[in-house]
Symmetry: C2
């Protein structure tokens, strides 16, 4: 083990059903914004404060993301080659709908000024809600309590609702509450770390329409390059003094509604503790889910209806949705409350992040941040979909339907990669086109085809949903099987075994190798299951079978070839050690000098050139060991132990996809 594996103490008190933060820690703002993010799979928003954080430099990162809503730009390579993707896709940071600013007299509420007398923030995992309670003393000494509740609705995917209650303690000055939509947004641009942010430059969410009337407003934006439209609408409801003045306004980037009230003796003043409350309903509708001409009307309709239904009803619906989820999904861990909290937190974020409409998927950072440009990877089928298999099989199915939706693009990509038949799914994408700009840890990871095929197999086995095979699954299995048939070859020098060369397996510290064992095992499974499903379909659903093989021009020789290839699949082994080799040349590499690698040099990828890493026996993550899990029945207990014992000491776990797999094995 190159790195310490002791568990860091949690910075949050342990509550089995909540994440609670009792002090405001500006230095951990970005982390807590991510932890307290809300989402529903359609959109998500970071756990930033309604009032924002205004200082010389803001420690936070404002962000709201709509699943599958992206901008494309032409990719500029310093040195391009044939088949490199030409358009980027970046999940956009869109209009911020959370804004509620509070002024007490001329002082603006902002946790970076004044004094925090009381602070508590709670992600309520049972209610699906984010609560905050703050008592603040302004620089001039005015004391006020602010209590907010925020939720992103699961049963109304376009809707977010916020309630803010304000209680002044020691002053009778005028108070203003401004509920706004803020369209002055850009994505994070990073140049130094391939894992975070994008190369998207400047303003691309262009505000085209602004609207404010009565107690509501809206903004309509259009993306600079691909022209996708977005409408964001809000409505507000206010409970407070009758004399309250309401006004609304728009400017270049925003729409707002202002409530001003105070300061009559009979209502306000020291000792009276009379509260006001504002409810804010926000909706997001895009041209990807609604006809472009209707997005504004639809967005306004949603917030008008939400306002009419009132906040408590929305809160109740949310609680019911989440309760039903826990009913199906909860995993109880006795005797370790921190672990219990951790697993529920993770499950809740999975539920919040995953696309449920068959048109979207799950982004690398869910809907909580911009890492990896919001792309969808193999993580879906291998790490996320299995979680939903037994508690929400409909979600698993929708994730596979997404893949079917991009099958034509995967076919086109296979042609571009010189495969006359078959489909090559993109390593990273939003819209189905390959976006990986560094192919050794991108396009070379052909295993994604087999990962998807295995997910289909597991879905069908878990649900018995054979109709899925007929409508979607069989076609994907046949097209992925074709890809393997075209990618691999019977190599005379390897005794005519079927070899798959120049690929990258899951482990990105060994790239573009021959016969990655994981890939070959998974491809073999893909080929065999395709043959099995073809047999079942031909026998049980002859009409559907005939229709499908006509549609994709599949002939019986291909099926025979798949069996032949699967039977002759080359699996690199070292008999002396009794292990599978991660790839042909794994033992030909020099060992990594773990003893002389200082802790600050991890993750290796940010401290060593790829060539340095690639020429050593060092793994970033589970590779062969992942196969031990996914294809568990193929390996004996002894084999598992030997392979685990061999690979664990060589693995840095520099990927978050690693430790979990080793732990299970």
């Amino acid at each position: 083990m190159p790195k310490s594996s002791t568990r860091a103490p949690s910075p949050y008190p342990v509550d089995e059903w909540a994440i609670v933060e009792n002090t405001f820690q500006p230095e951990h703002t970005r982390r807590s914004e991510t932890i307290f993010a809300l989402g529903n799979g359609y959109f998500g928003t970071r756990g930033t404060f309604e009032e924002g954080l205004h200082g010389a430099t803001s420690p936070g990162l404002e962000g709201t993301y709509i699943n599958g809503f992206y901008e494309s730009e032409t990719i500029r390579y310093p040195e391009v080659a044939y088949g490199f993707p030409d358009k980027s896709q970046t999940m956009l940071n869109v209009i911020n709908g959370k804004v509620i600013r509070l002024f007490v007299s001329d002082e603006e509420f902002n946790l970076l000024t004044g004094t925090i007398l009381e602070y508590r923030r709670t992600l309520n995992l049972r209610a699906g809600r984010l609560d905050r309670n703050v008592t603040w003393r302004s620089p001039a000494g005015r004391e006020v309590n602010i209590n907010t509740t925020r939720l992103v609705s699961f049963d109304q995917p376009h809707l977010m609702a916020i309630s803010m209650t304000v209680t002044p303690f020691n002053f009778s000055d005028k108070i203003r509450l401004i509920a706004a939509l803020d369209g002055d947004v850009t994505n994070v641009t990073t140049a130094n770390d391939p894992r975070s942010g994008s190369n998207l430059q400047g303003r691309v969410v262009l505000i085209q329409d602004r609207f404010a009337e009565g107690t509501g407003g809206a903004l309509v934006s259009r993306n600079k390059h691909n022209g996708f439209g977005l409408a964001c609408a809000m409505e507000t409801r206010f409970y407070g003094p009758r004399q309250t003045e309401v006004s609304c306004a728009t400017d270049e980037f925003s729409a707002s509604v202002t409530y001003s009230f105070g300061s009559g003796e009979d209502q306000w003043g020291p000792g009276k503790e009379i509260s006001v409350q504002i409810e804010k309903f926000v909706s997001y509708v895009t041209s990807l889910d609604t006809p472009d001409a209707d997005i504004l009307a639809r967005a306004r309709e949603i917030v008008t209806a939400a306002k009419a239904s009132r906040f408590p009803a929305i809160e109740t619906a949310q609680r019911h949705y989440v309760a039903a989820f826990w009913e199906r999904a909860d995993v109880q861990i006795k005797g370790d409350p921190a672990l219990q909290q951790g697993i529920r937190f993770n499950m809740f974020h999975l539920l919040q992040s995953v696309g449920k409409d068959g048109r979207t998927n799950i982004s690398a950072k869910g809907l909580t941040g911009e890492g990896y440009e919001g792309h969808y990877f193999w993580d879906t089928e291998t790490y996320v979909l299995p979680f939903f298999l037994f508690n929400s099989p409909d979600i698993s199915r929708k994730l596979l339907e997404y893949r079917y939706g991009i099958l034509d693009r995967a076919r086109a990509r296979a042609r571009e990669m010189s495969h006359p038949r078959g489909a090559l799914f993109p390593w990273r994408t939003i819209n189905g086109d390959e976006c990986s700009t560094y192919y050794p840890a991108g396009t070379a990871q052909y295993h994604i085809d087999a990962d998807i095929a295995l997910a289909i197999k597991r879905y069908v086995e878990a649900t018995g949903d054979r109709q899925f095979l007929i409508d979607y699954g069989a076609e994907m299995l046949f097209e992925t099987a074709r890809l393997w048939a075209s990618l691999g070859s019977f190599i005379p020098h390897k005794g005519n075994q079927f070899c798959i060369n120049a690929v990258t397996g899951p482990d990105e510290y060994t790239a573009v190798v021959n016969n990655n064992c994981y890939t070959n095992l998974m491809a073999q499974t893909n080929l065999r299951y395709a043959v099995e499903v073809a047999g079942w379909l031909r026998t049980e659903q002859p009409q559907a079978y005939e229709k499908l093989i006509a549609a994709i021009d599949l002939n019986v020789d291909e099926l025979a070839f798949w069996t032949r290839a699967a039977d002759a699949m080359y699996l690199p082994r070292d008999e002396e050690r009794g292990i599978y080799l991660q790839d042909d040349a794994f033992l030909d590499r020099a060992p990594w000098d773990f003893a002389n690698t200082p802790p600050e040099n991890y993750p290796l990828l940010t401290h060593y050139h790829p060539l340095v890493i690639y020429r050593h026996q060092v793994c970033k993550q589970a590779d062969l060991v992942l196969a031990l899990l996914l294809l568990s029945q193929r390996f004996t207990r002894d084999e598992k132990r030997r392979n685990y014992d061999f690979y664990e000491p060589l693995t840095t776990h520099d990927s978050s996809l690693s430790m979990c797999i080793f732990s299970i094995i």
Copy 2:
């Protein structure tokens, strides 16, 4: 052989000492501009016309390049990794000094208008001169003969001289000749082909000073990012009517001198055939070779002196320089005049392109164009330096001195690539810093270290110049030997032989492989020669030896390790076929389907994704076969034949570095 190897007929008449073009072919403008380019190693200029080519779209590419004079920009990667170069280097297209515009009455001489009555352009290989003779009828029917001679001086590296003689035939209108310096220049920007142009955007040669006085003028530019300064000065001398008016001017991007004359009865008119002549002297001086504050004064000094010495004297000096070169270097081929012409043309261009000052080297396209951004590669040591070894050893030495000049940067690069000792020379560079942005066909070509080491060995063997070893060579040999010692490892799984993994050999269709045989053979030679030179130095020059090993902290254990590594060097072989394997996995790859590769799909790199190429048995260029040539004495005739026979059918010769090597073998 996948491609036809029959020799295409030359488009130019065969003259053993000249390249002659008898018709103006606008469709081949770019090619002929390259063929008729002039240079002297310090700077070069494309064979464009003095008057330019003015049309709706110009078929040509104006270009003047100063060896080693570049601009740097921050490189933007769509996905960056540790150790990727951060600054580009692009050889700049600088101020055009060739301009002489000719107006007959209001009609401007331009070969894209009017009628060409006579045309002949000659690159005179014996005189080192470009001559052109044109008779042109203007659209309005004026007939005029234009005769130009141009040379870029070998013995005055900063100087170009042009003479233009103008003879009007059938008119007595006013004539104007405008000699100018044109600073309205940019580089070619290309996005689609890694082999041509750069990513340099917009104007980076910023004109800062303009000057015109009497019969001369100058421009001073400064590069936008790195601030390098350039002064370009001109002087003119005119032979013509006494009444000629002379004026000079500057504007934003240019400086010019105008001669206007005509049209008195006694001097001009039909049937008189009286000629005028303008001589133009142009100089280039940069802040890389002259103190920044002095560049303008120095540039003016050069043209003033040149004007004083007169054009014929410069022409004579040029002829003497070139004659001396042919005296030393000429290769005579009997019975094949086209081949004789070809080899002289190539030798002349080598002489024109190569840096001779120890501070510059030879760009990928010489000084004739912008391909590969003007970078220096291993081509220098492997393909160019050997040519000069026996006819101009001083040039060979200067090329090696250039490498010594960048040794510190090569040491820094080795550290960046995680080698605690040694030097890693850049795969492509101008200033010594690595510029390759695609490491599989860039930084991974570690063999450049051994290529340089072998060039040192060959230089010393050819010249007996042991002082070079003491002053420069030994240090480079020791530092490159250290790199191999650190890069390779004794691999237990390979019987503890010394293996060099994750490198790319000369053949760029097989990248990041283990034990590229060429690399291992060359590294072995490098290690052994370093040990040999260390022994010689210790014995014969003990003081120099002690000083050097102290300076680079070399210890005797390292020398022993080099011998051990060289002795145990792993050389992949196939005993059955009796051949060396290009790399460990060469026979594990599937054969390329040459039969079904249409001719238009060559070169493969522009029609197939790198992964498709890398997983097949297909070579772009000589790799193992190059070792057969460079280390000829190591191989028997039979071995050479077997290896040639094996690799030749697998080689596309998509690199210009290939066919020549196979031909020699």
